[in-house]
C-alpha cells in the first residue's frame, strides 16, 4: 500500500515535470492527454488504495519517504498518512480533478498558454493531494501553500488584464493572512508538545492547557477562514472568478477551498479540548453561510452568484465542524464537490456558447439551445437547493440535524440560509435558461450551440453523481457508510443524543419546506423580468461594502504609513540623525572637512595613525 499511496502523489507531479521539460515540443493534444492521463491514473490508484485500506488490519498507515527537516528536537519527515479521512479526500479530489482536466482540454482549446494551464493544474492536483496525505502539519503546509500558489497563477492566468492580475494577488495575500494563523498554531503546538506529526500530537494532546488549546483552535480557524473563504477573509473568492471557468470549478469550488474544513476536521482531537473554540467556529460558519447567501441574491454575474454560493456552502461545512459533526462536514464537502463542480462547468458551457458572456441579464431562454447542459444544470440546481432525493438534500440535512441538536439559534440561521439558497439558485436558473432570449447581441444573432463531448461528458457524470451521491451516507445506515468509515479518524464526536427518528423526519420536512419556499418565491419574481431594483439591493451587490471597509481601515492607512516612511522617516529622521551625528563629529575634527574628494584618504590615514598609536601604547604597556 505504501507504494500505491506514494504513486498517487507522484503521477500528477510527474505530469507537471514532464510537461515542464518537454512542453515546447508537444502539441496541444499531447499535453492534454498527458495532463489528464496522470490524474486519471492517480484516481485509479486512489481507488486501489481505498480497497486495500478496507482489507487492511490497521486503518492508519504511515508511509515514510525521507527525512526533510531535522534540527535538534524538531523532526519533520516527508511522510504520508493513509487513513479513512485522507483516502476519502484523495478519492473525490482525484475523481473531480480528472473530470475537470478532461473538460479543460475542450474549454481551453486554442488558448495561447494552453500548456502552462495544464502545468499549473497538475501541480495543483499534486499540492492538494500532498495537503491531504501529509502525516504532519508542516508537510500539509507545503500542500496548503502549493494550492494557494497554483490558485494565484490560475486566477491571474490572463495576466495582461489588470483585474485578473490584481485578483490573483488578492487571493494570495488573503490566504497569507490565514497562513499566519496556521504558522502560529504550529508554533504553539511544537512549543508545548514537541512534535508536529498528527498521530503524535493526538497522543499527547491531553497535556495542553485549555487556554493553549483554545488559542490553537482559533489560530487554525484563522487559517481555515483564509483558505476556505470564510468571514473575515472571504472576499478574495468572488474576485478569483477572473480565472478560467474550469479553475473556478476545480480550485475555487470543489477542492482547494475545502482545505480549511479538512484542516479543522483533521485536527478534531484538538478541537475537542476547547468548547469556546468550537462555538466560535460554529458561529463563523453559520454567519458566513447566511451573509454569503444574502449577497448571492443580488449578483448579476453568473460566476459571482456561484462563488458566493460556494462561500455559503462552505459556511455550512464549517458550521458542521463547529458542532462536532465532522462526518456531516465531509459528506457535504463531497456532495458539494459534485454539484458545485457541475454548476460551474455547466455555467462554463453556457459562457462558452455565448462567446464569453457572464452577465445573466444578457442570457435567458437557453433551454432549447443547450440540450445536454440544460438538464445537467437542472439537476445541479435542484441538488443545491436541497430537493430530495438528490445528494444535497441528504448532506445538508445531515448538517442541519446535527446543528439542531447542538444549537437552536444557529439552526434557525441555517434554515434561513436554505431558503435563500433556493431563492438565489432559482433566480440564476430562471435568468439563464428560461424567459426571453437576451443574448443575440453577444452571439451576433446566431443560435448558441452545445459544447463538444469533452465538455458535456463531465457534466453528465457529475449530474449522475449529484443524483445518487446521497447513498454515501443515508441517515438510517450511518454505521455502514461514510460516517462509519470515517469515525476512527475523529477524536471526538458530538455529545448528546441524536434526534430520534420522528424528529429527523420533522427536520427533513423543514428543510424541504425551506427549499420550496425559496424556489417558489424566486420563480414567481424572476419568471418574467431580468432586472429589478426592488428585488436587488446595491448593499448586497457590493458585498456589504466589505472591501471598502478593509480599504478604509487597513489598506489606505498602511499605504499612507509606508509613504510617510519613505518621504519622512527614512530620509529625515533616521538618515538625518546619523548624518547629523557624523557632521558634528566631522566639524570637531577640523582638518578633515576641507576637501570632500580627499576625505577617504585622510580618514584612512588618520585611522591607521590612530591604530598605530593604540598598538604602540599596548606594546608599551605589555613590554
Amino acid at each position: 500500500m505504501a507504494h500505491v499511496a506514494t504513486l498517487i502523489l507522484l503521477f500528477p507531479l510527474g505530469g507537471f515535470i514532464f510537461v515542464l521539460l518537454n512542453g515546447r515540443h508537444m502539441s496541444e493534444r499531447q499535453v492534454g492527454v498527458v495532463g489528464t492521463g496522470v490524474v486519471v491514473v492517480s484516481f485509479v490508484l486512489s481507488v486501489l488504495c481505498f480497497v486495500m485500506l478496507l482489507s487492511h488490519s490497521s486503518r492508519e498507515v504511515t508511509v515514510n519517504l525521507f527525512s526533510w527537516i531535522t534540527v535538534g528536537t524538531l523532526h519533520v519527515p516527508a511522510a504520508l498518512l493513509v487513513d479513512p479521512l485522507s483516502i476519502t479526500m484523495c478519492l473525490f479530489v482525484t475523481g473531480i480533478s480528472a473530470l475537470i482536466h478532461l473538460y479543460s482540454t475542450g474549454y481551453m482549446h486554442g488558448e495561447k498558454d494552453f500548456r502552462k494551464f495544464f502545468l499549473y493544474m497538475n501541480l495543483f492536483v499534486f499540492s492538494m493531494l500532498l495537503l491531504v496525505l501529509a502525516n504532519n502539519l508542516v508537510l500539509t503546509f507545503v500542500g496548503w501553500e502549493g494550492v494557494g500558489l497554483c490558485s494565484y497563477w490560475l486566477v491571474s492566468y490572463y495576466f495582461d488584464r489588470d483585474t485578473a492580475a490584481s485578483a490573483g494577488k488578492k487571493a494570495f495575500i488573503y490566504n497569507r493572512v490565514g497562513d499566519v494563523g496556521m504558522l502560529v498554531a504550529m508554533f504553539l503546538l511544537f512549543s508545548r508538545l514537541h512534535t508536529l506529526t498528527y498521530v503524535t500530537i493526538f497522543a499527547r494532546v491531553g497535556t495542553l492547557t485549555p487556554t493553549v488549546a483554545t488559542l490553537v483552535v482559533l489560530a487554525l480557524l484563522l487559517a481555515a477562514t483564509g483558505k476556505s473563504a470564510q468571514i473575515p477573509l472571504f472576499n478574495w473568492l468572488p474576485d478569483a472568478m477572473e480565472g478560467p471557468t474550469p479553475v473556478s470549478a476545480l480550485i475555487h469550488a470543489a477542492t482547494m477551498v475545502t482545505a480549511g474544513v479538512y484542516l479543522l476536521v483533521r485536527m478534531s482531537p484538538v478541537l475537542a479540548l476547547s468548547h469556546s473554540g468550537r462555538l466560535t467556529i460554529a458561529i463563523i460558519g453559520g454567519v458566513t453561510a447566511f451573509v454569503a447567501a444574502t449577497i448571492a441574491t443580488s449578483q448579476k454575474d453568473i460566476k459571482k452568484v456561484l462563488a458566493f454560493s460556494t462561500i455559503s456552502q462552505i459556511g455550512y461545512m464549517v458550521l458542521a465542524v463547529g458542532v462536532g459533526a465532522y462526518s456531516a462536514a465531509i459528506f457535504l464537502m463531497i456532495s458539494h464537490a459534485f454539484f458545485k463542480a457541475l454548476l460551474f462547468l455547466g455555467s462554463g458551457s453556457v459562457i462558452h456558447s455565448l462567446n464569453g458572456e457572464q452577465d445573466m441579464r444578457k442570457m435567458g431562454g437557453l433551454q432549447k439551445y443547450l440540450p445536454l447542459t440544460f438538464p445537467a444544470f437542472l439537476i445541479g440546481w435542484l441538488t443545491i437547493s436541497g430537493i430530495p432525493p438528490f445528494a444535497g438534500f441528504w448532506s445538508k440535512g445531515d448538517v442541519l440535524t446535527n446543528v439542531f441538536d447542538q444549537n437552536k439559534a444557529l439552526w434557525v440561521l441555517g434554515v434561513l440560509t436554505a431558503i435563500l439558497t433556493g431563492y438565489y439558485m432559482t433566480r440564476l436558473f430562471v435568468l439563464t435558461f428560461r424567459g426571453t432570449e437576451r443574448f443575440r447581441e453577444d452571439t451576433g444573432g446566431h443560435d448558441p450551440h452545445e459544447s463538444p463531448w469533452v465538455i458535456t461528458t463531465p457534466l453528465i457524470v457529475l449530474a449522475v453523481l449529484s443524483i445518487v451521491g446521497g447513498v454515501l451516507d443515508l441517515p438510517w445506515i450511518h454505521h455502514d457508510s461514510l460516517a462509519g468509515f470515517l469515525s476512527p479518524t475523529f477524536g471526538y464526536v458530538a455529545a448528546g443524543g441524536h434526534a430520534d427518528t420522528l424528529a429527523q423526519y420533522g427536520l427533513a420536512l423543514v428543510d424541504v419546506a425551506a427549499a420550496v419556499i425559496g424556489l417558489l418565491a424566486a420563480y414567481s419574481i424572476w419568471r418574467n423580468i431580468w432586472e429589478s431594483s426592488r428585488y436587488e439591493s446595491s448593499f448586497l451587490e457590493h458585498v456589504w461594502h466589505w472591501d471598502d471597509f478593509y480599504d478604509a481601515t487597513i489598506g489606505r492607512p498602511l499605504t499612507e504609513a509606508a509613504q510617510f516612511g519613505d518621504d519622512v522617516i527614512e530620509p529625515k529622521v533616521i538618515d538625518g540623525a546619523v548624518t547629523g551625528l557624523a557632521v558634528s563629529v566631522r566639524r570637531s575634527a577640523e582638518g578633515l572637512r576641507k576637501v570632500q574628494s580627499g576625505f577617504v584618504r585622510h580618514y584612512a590615514l588618520a585611522t591607521i595613525l590612530g591604530v598605530a598609536v593604540i598598538i604602540v601604547f599596548l606594546v608599551a604597556r605589555v613590554g
Binding site: V71, V177, D179, F187, T559, A582
Partner: protein
C-alpha cells in the same frame, strides 16, 4: 582533523587570480578568463572542503582544518584559521557569489581592474570567514572595504561617489568601535592569565571572564560594527543608495555576501564571546530585528526602483537572520545560518535578473516597466522562482530557514516571533505587488520589444534555481553540518540552558 592547507589554498587562489588578472593587458578579455577560472577553482575547492567536513559531524569539537602561526608576537598578530559548520556555508557562498557575479557581468570583461578588485574582495571576505583570531578577522574585515569602495566609485551609477562615501563612512565608523572592543578584550585577557603573551585567538579569548557591565559595553562595540554591515535597523540607510548605485556585480557582492559578515560576526563574536551581555542586550537586538522586518517590508512597497527594492527586502530578511542569531534557540540559530546562505543565493538571483533588465532598458525604475511576462516569459519564470523562495514558499529554500527561525524563536521569545510572523505576510505583499507592476499587464512600446533571457543568462541562473529547489526539498546534508556547531555555540553561551 584535515590539513589547513585547504584553507590556505582558498585564500591564495583568488589572490593569485587577482594578480594574474591585473597583469594581463586589456585584450580580448584575457583577465576575464583568468578571473572566471580562478573563481571556478575556488568554488570547487570550497565544495571539496564542505564535503570533507562531513567526517567531523559527530565530534565534540566542531572546528576543523585548523592551524595557528604567530606572525608578530608583541602585537599578538597571528595567522590562525579554522572552520566549523557555520563558517563552512559562508565559504561556499563566498566562492559561489564571485563566480556568478562575474558570469553575470560579462559586459565588463574588457576591464582587468574590475575583475581584479572582485577577486581581491573574494580573498578578503574568505579571510574573514576563515579567521579564528579576532585581530586577523578585523584586518580582513577592514580590507574588504577597499575593493568595495573602488568598485562603487569607479564603476557605479550617476551618484556613485556619494554612495561610495556614505558606504565608507558608515562601515568605517562602525569598525572603529569593533577595533577598540577587540583591543580591549585582548588586553583584558592578557591581564587575567599571568605571564601569557598578547593573543587575539578566538579560543583563548572566549574563555575570558568579565563583569556584566564590561560584557555589555563590549557587546555593544562589536554589535555596532556588525549592525552597520548587515545592515540592522536603524543603521541601514547606507544600503539602499549603495546597492542602487553600485554596478550589479558590486551590489551582488555587498548584499549577498558582505552583509553576511555582519550577521556572522554577530553570531560568532558578539554572541559567542559575551554570553553575560545577552540577558540585557537580547531583547534590545530582537526588537530592532523585528522593527527591521516590518520597516523594510513597508518601504519595499513604496520604493521607486528595483535595486532599492531589493535593499529594503534584504533589510527585512536580515531582520529574520538577526532574530534567529539572537534567539538563543538552537533551531532558530541553525535557521539563521541557513538563511544567510539562502538569502545570499536569492539575492544573487534578484540582482542578476535586475541587471539583465537594466542592460536592456537602461532603467531600474519600477514605473518604467509593465507586462514584461508577455515578451519575456523565461525571464519572468526565473524571477518568479527567486521571488517565491524569498516569500518563503514551502518546497523552496527560503521556507526551511524562515520556518526554523520562527518556530525556534517562538520557543524562547514568543511575542517577537509572533510579530515577525507578520513579516511572512508582508513579504508576499511587497513582492507580488512589485511583480504585478513589472511583469503583469499589457506590454507596450519598449516593454513589448524587450528580449527574453539569452541562453547565457539562463545558464548563469541555473545554479541559483537548483540551489533554491534542492535546499528546499532536501536540506538535510546542510542542516547536519550546521547543527553540531550551533549546538556547541549555544551550549557555550548558555551552559545550563536546555536545548530548545
Amino acid at each position: 582533523m584535515h590539513s589547513s592547507l585547504w584553507l590556505t589554498f582558498l585564500l591564495v587562489v583568488p589572490l593569485a587570480g587577482a594578480i594574474g588578472a591585473a597583469l594581463t593587458r586589456k585584450v580580448e578579455g584575457r583577465a576575464y578568463v583568468v578571473a572566471i577560472t580562478a573563481s571556478f577553482v575556488e568554488l570547487v575547492l570550497s565544495l571539496v572542503v564542505a564535503f570533507l567536513y562531513n567526517d567531523h559531524v559527530a565530534q565534540t569539537q566542531t572546528f576543523d582544518f585548523a592551524t595557528r602561526h604567530v606572525l608578530a608576537a608583541p602585537f599578538g598578530l597571528a595567522y590562525d584559521v579554522a572552520i566549523d559548520g557555520i563558517s563552512l556555508l559562508m565559504i561556499v557562498l563566498t566562492a559561489l557569489t564571485v563566480l556568478l557575479a562575474l558570469l553575470g557581468a560579462r559586459d565588463r570583461r574588457q576591464e582587468p581592474a574590475f575583475v581584479a578588485w572582485m577577486l581581491l574582495l573574494t580573498c578578503f571576505t574568505m579571510g574573514s570567514f576563515l579567521a579564528h583570531d579576532l585581530l586577523e578577522f578585523f584586518i580582513f574585515f577592514e580590507l574588504t572595504l577597499i575593493p568595495c569602495y573602488f568598485i562603487i566609485s569607479q564603476w557605479g551609477g550617476r551618484e556613485r561617489s556619494k554612495a561610495a562615501l556614505k558606504f565608507f563612512i558608515y562601515t568605517f565608523t562602525g569598525s572603529a568601535f569593533l577595533l577598540i572592543g577587540i583591543l580591549f578584550l585582548g588586553f583584558a585577557h592578557q591581564h587575567q592569565v599571568a605571564g601569557s603573551a598578547l593573543t587575539f585567538s578566538y579560543g583563548a579569548l572566549s574563555a575570558t571572564t568579565m563583569s556584566h557591565g564590561t560584557a555589555v559595553w563590549l557587546f555593544i562595540a562589536f554589535a555596532i560594527a556588525f549592525a552597520v554591515k548587515a545592515p540592522i535597523w536603524p543603521l541601514h540607510t547606507w544600503s539602499p543608495i549603495t546597492y542602487a548605485e553600485a554596478p550589479t556585480a558590486g551590489s551582488i557582492e555587498m548584499s549577498a555576501l558582505l552583509a553576511k559578515l555582519g550577521t556572522y560576526g554577530l553570531l560568532r563574536f558578539a554572541v559567542g564571546l559575551f554570553p553575560l551581555a545577552l540577558v540585557t542586550m537580547r531583547p534590545v537586538v530582537l526588537t530592532l530585528a523585528v522593527i527591521g522586518i516590518l520597516y523594510g517590508s513597508m518601504l519595499a512597497c513604496t520604493t521607486p526602483d528595483l535595486k532599492r527594492f531589493v535593499a529594503y527586502s534584504s533589510l527585512a530578511q536580515m531582520g529574520f537572520i538577526t532574530l534567529g542569531v539572537m534567539s538563543g534557540s538552537t533551531i532558530a540559530t541553525v535557521g539563521a545560518v541557513l538563511l544567510m546562505f539562502n538569502h545570499g543565493v536569492i539575492t544573487i538571483g534578484f540582482f542578476l535578473i535586475i541587471g539583465f533588465i537594466e542592460k536592456r532598458r537602461g532603467s531600474i525604475l519600477i514605473k518604467d516597466f509593465q507586462g514584461l511576462q508577455g515578451p519575456a516569459p523565461i525571464m519572468a519564470a526565473l524571477f518568479t522562482v527567486v521571488m517565491l523562495a524569498s516569500i518563503g514558499l514551502p518546497g523552496l529554500s527560503g521556507f526551511v530557514s524562515e520556518y526554523l527561525i520562527l518556530i525556534g524563536t517562538f520557543a524562547t521569545h514568543s511575542w517577537w516571533a509572533v510579530v515577525a510572523t507578520f513579516g511572512v505576510l508582508a513579504s508576499a505583499l511587497y513582492l507580488l505587488w512589485a511583480y504585478q507592476r513589472v511583469f503583469h499587464g499589457r506590454a507596450e512600446g519598449a516593454n513589448a520589444e524587450i528580449a527574453d533571457a539569452t541562453t547565457h543568462e539562463q545558464w548563469v541562473l541555473v545554479p541559483v534555481v537548483v540551489l533554491i529547489v534542492v535546499l528546499g526539498v532536501f536540506p538535510k546534508p546542510v542542516l547536519d553540518r550546521i547543527t553540531p556547531s550551533v549546538q556547541q555555540l549555544i551550549h557555550h553561551v548558555a551552559p545550563s540552558g536546555v536545548n530548545k
